[in-house]
């Protein structure tokens, strides 16, 4: 194996290690963002809207 090949292999392995670290960070950030989005959602409003829609369908409107 030439020095060039060993360099390429080391680059590949180190990027894999970094990829794992970034994947963990991505998961953490994504879960934080999802939690924030869920917390911000007005569920009562959504539920009332859905009930109104169902009632409209049942009433044939």
């Amino acid at each position: 194996m030439s020095k060039k090949d060993i360099g390429l292999l080391i680059t590949g392995i180190s990027s894999f290690v970094l990829a794992i670290i970034f994947a963990v960070i991505t998961l953490i950030v994504f879960s934080v963002q999802v939690t924030g989005a869920v917390a911000k959602t007005n569920w009562n409003h959504l539920w009332n809207q859905a009930r109104d829609n169902i009632e409209d369908i049942v009433d044939g409107k």
Binding site: D5, L8, L9, G12, L18, A23, I25, T26, V29
Partner: protein
């Protein structure tokens, strides 16, 4: 050169070896001469088949045995391109059909699969970046940027594997073809 001249010269050249080893070697060579003469060969022909005394002594010093030395000499004296070896041809065909070709195709398939995965990763990176710029990822920009970095790092790994894989695959294929050619013409023992 006569048998006695050859043996005398050989004994001189083997002086560096232990006495017991020299005796064993001399006995072996004497037997070889006797067998050769019994089968109708002249002393001259037997000397010729054993080769130069110095080379024979060096081979013994390197730890070779008489059958190995004779086999090497016969191989060296064999005319090149004397035609394919029948057993070699059968071996090459069967080996390639059941082992060589399936293994070669499997490795090629894995490498092409890796190249395809690389293509998919690059497409995903382009897709996620465009989704950020088109405003369809509002609220998740940080996650998508991080995801793109992760995918890029994975792409670097797969790229290096694909480059190294194809390089050594090409080298291996060339060596394998060379070996097949050797077996085809010289058989497995050659």
């Amino acid at each position: 050169m006569t048998k006695y001249e050859y043996l005398g010269e050989l004994e001189k050249r083997l002086e560096a070896l232990p006495h017991k080893d020299v005796c064993d070697i001399m006995d072996e060579i004497r037997n070889h001469f006797e067998e050769g003469i019994a089968s109708g060969k002249s002393e001259e022909e037997i000397c010729e088949s054993l080769g130069d005394v110095g080379e024979l002594a060096d081979s013994y010093k390197d730890g070779a045995t008489l059958p190995q030395i004779i086999s090497r000499r016969e191989k060296a004296n064999r005319p090149k391109n004397s035609g394919p070896d029948t057993q070699g041809i059968f071996f090459v065909i069967l080996f390639n059909l059941f082992v060589g070709l399936p293994a070669w195709l499997s490795v090629l398939g894995i490498l092409l699969g890796l190249a395809f995965v690389l293509l998919i990763l690059v497409s995903l990176i382009v897709f996620f970046i465009s989704s950020v710029f088109m405003g369809s990822a509002v609220g998740f920009v940080a996650s998508i940027v991080l995801l793109c970095i992760t995918l890029m790092l994975l792409s670097v790994l797969i790229f290096s594997l694909v480059v190294l894989g194809f390089k050594y695959f090409a080298k291996g294929t060339a060596a394998y073809i060379k070996w097949n050619r050797k077996v085809w013409f010289e058989g497995l023992e050659g």
